[in-house]
Symmetry: C2
Subunit: 341 residues, 2 copies
DNA sequence: CGCCGAATTGTTAGCGCTAACATTGCGCAC
DNA sequence: GTGCGCAATGTTAGCGCTAACAATTCGGCG
């Protein structure tokens, strides 16, 4: 008996201790906590009181190890510095937290390989499900999901292959802004893009379709820059664009960051917005309403997307398998017309 | 033997399986993975190869249960929608990730009680350490930390009671902006604040000290609003302030959100900034450089704070107890003078 | 009055891993 | 050769919890 006692993590109070204090076995405590209907009300009351009194904190690892359920959801987003994803995160949190699930947040930095690495790393936590941004992942990514039969919901876009997803048609949204600019009488409409993730490219598709249909598509007006998006970049790209194409009469920026930089640069250079140049953004960030002039943009329901995606995932986790029909939720978008167009 | 096999979470490949494939015992696999020097190089190589081949994924719960270490750090921040904390988060991630630690992120919504509840909830994961925003927590909060001897590092501010912390003097920073406005010849300097967390109030202290020293402190110019901060609120508060005090010649906003709203409203109302009214912000968010005129503000090293705090915590975790001396790290701040002052 | 079934509680075993101790093997000094 | 010491690997037990099955209790009914 000279064995050293093991280090205890946590407060050291176990279910067994609580049970002993209550004069019952550990399993009864477990039941009192997790399936109250299987324990006499009086006893349950007593146990809950002792839990409080002894400061018992359940050990999640033990629970998970024994039950093979982690009550944990892995959330993969491309960036922490982009409000878009933070908003979605808040929506997710608002659903998972009350449901007793905890989220593990992985930041993929817009990289497929990092995304895959994160998935591998976080698998150690055996998450019960997965919320991913976008539809395009590394090939091994989907393989792992399939192997483990890990339920996943895809966010921010719409799939046509039956994968459950919650989002909006990036293509349609790109088309909508382009159409808006056409309706305002513009014909030389540029597309300014950075980061170039799948969503940005789909918006580009929408832009192309509309312009082609209107007979004024000019590939020279597509300015694509793989660098991370920023206001500085928006300003710089605007300068470059106007230097090459002074006849340009509208700019569709793939997101509000670029647009805010562009609009500020116009202000600095004395270019009249929208008289001389109309500017459109995407996402409707808070700051979009406070530029001079205020920015016209596409409002996207990020919070709602996150929340709905989380709900959809929980449905899958709780057995309501395929409730039939398409599990793709289109939450749409809204054109916010303001002073810049 | 009629017992049903338990559900397996994960791929089902265990350390034991890998060991068997390699002709060794499970513990050797464990050692090959976690303390390579205790295993012959050739054998280790073979094991690593099998791990890859069989798709073995360690089970973190089991590891944690057996070793009483979770390799997990709990990070508590007041808000996800405030870039300030997201930046700190990124700094934390940049240190913890490479060190093999994972972060659990708790959003306290600026509430002491929610913070306490989150701590309780996340204790179930038995985190090895804790990174908290601010110095003021619920009373029970510190008690729990003490009971469990949970190492913690406090972020964003400086303590004088020996708690390890990484941040800047909010008071000094508030004083610095105020001094700057005084130096620009202003005498009727208002303080516009929202959210009213401890940091905002400390900046207020600095503001008061400077103005009192300069003999032009007027409590009527302190506008404190407990509502969450936003650009809209900044604009509204500016209107209210000027309606009550048309003689006001400078406004120090407790953060850039308010300031951007205020500056935009001035633009809309034709108030000349800075000629008629100087405006100062706080934090130096990206958008601050792109208002018209660009916003003067106090730049705070959020990323560095997060990173340093994480490093400090890791030091504590790895036994280098008190390396003596104050464990308070002052990373300072920097006045960014731009067009608005 | 004994037996049945439902409700309540208990027993046993094991989830996958690692700390602690035990064993084996091997080179080397004498 | 014998024994010593160290390095490499194995054995045992147990972390805290819960699934599955077992036992007990109790009310009701023929």
């Amino acid at each position: 008996m000279s064995r050293k006692p093991r280090l205890r993590s946590g407060s050291g109070v176990t279910m067994h201790d609580v049970g002993q204090a209550a004069g019952v076995s550990a399993i009864t405590v477990s039941r009192a906590l997790h399936s109250p209907e299987r324990v006499t009300p009086a006893l349950r009351e007593k146990i809950l009181q002792l839990v409080e009194q002894l400061g018992y904190v359940p050990n999640r690892s033990a629970r998970q190890l024994a039950s093979a359920r982690s009550h944990t959801v892995l959330v993969l987003i491309p960036s922490l510095s982009n409000t878009v994803f933070i908003d979605a995160l808040a929506g997710i949190e608002s659903v998972l937290q009350p449901a007793g699930y905890q989220m593990l947040i992985g930041n993929t930095h817009y990289s497929d390989s990092e995304e895959l690495a994160l998935l591998r790393a976080y698998l150690q936590h055996s998450p019960d499900g997965l919320l991913v941004t976008g539809l395009q992942q590394a090939e091994a990514f989907s393989r792992i999901l399939a192997e483990r039969q890990l339920p996943a919901v895809y966010m921010m876009d719409l799939s046509d292959d039956g994968r459950p997803c919650v989002g909006l048609s990036q293509e349609a949204a790109g088309a909508a802004m382009t159409r808006h600019l056409l309706q305002r009488g513009r014909r030389r409409i540029a597309y300014l893009a950075a980061q170039l993730d799948e969503r940005v490219l789909k918006r580009l598709q929408g832009y192309r379709q509309e312009l082609t249909a209107a007979g004024c598509h000019d590939p020279a007006l597509e300015w694509l820059n793989p660098a991370p998006s920023s206001m500085q970049l928006g300003a710089d790209m605007l300068d470059a664009l106007l230097a090459a194409h002074p006849d340009c009469d509208a700019v569709f920026c793939c997101n509000d960051d670029l647009a805010i930089g562009a609009i500020a640069r116009c202000q600095q250079r004395g270019i009249a917005v929208p008289a001389q140049l109309a500017i459109g953004g995407f996402n409707d960030l808070q700051a979009a309403a406070w530029t001079t002039p205020p920015l016209s943009t596409i409002a996207t329901p990020r919070f709602a997307i996150g929340a709905a995606a989380a709900r959809l995932l929980l449905q899958q986790l709780h057995g309501q398998q395929d409730s039939g029909g398409s599990r793709c939720l289109d939450l749409g978008f809204q054109l916010q017309q303001r002073g810049s167009t």
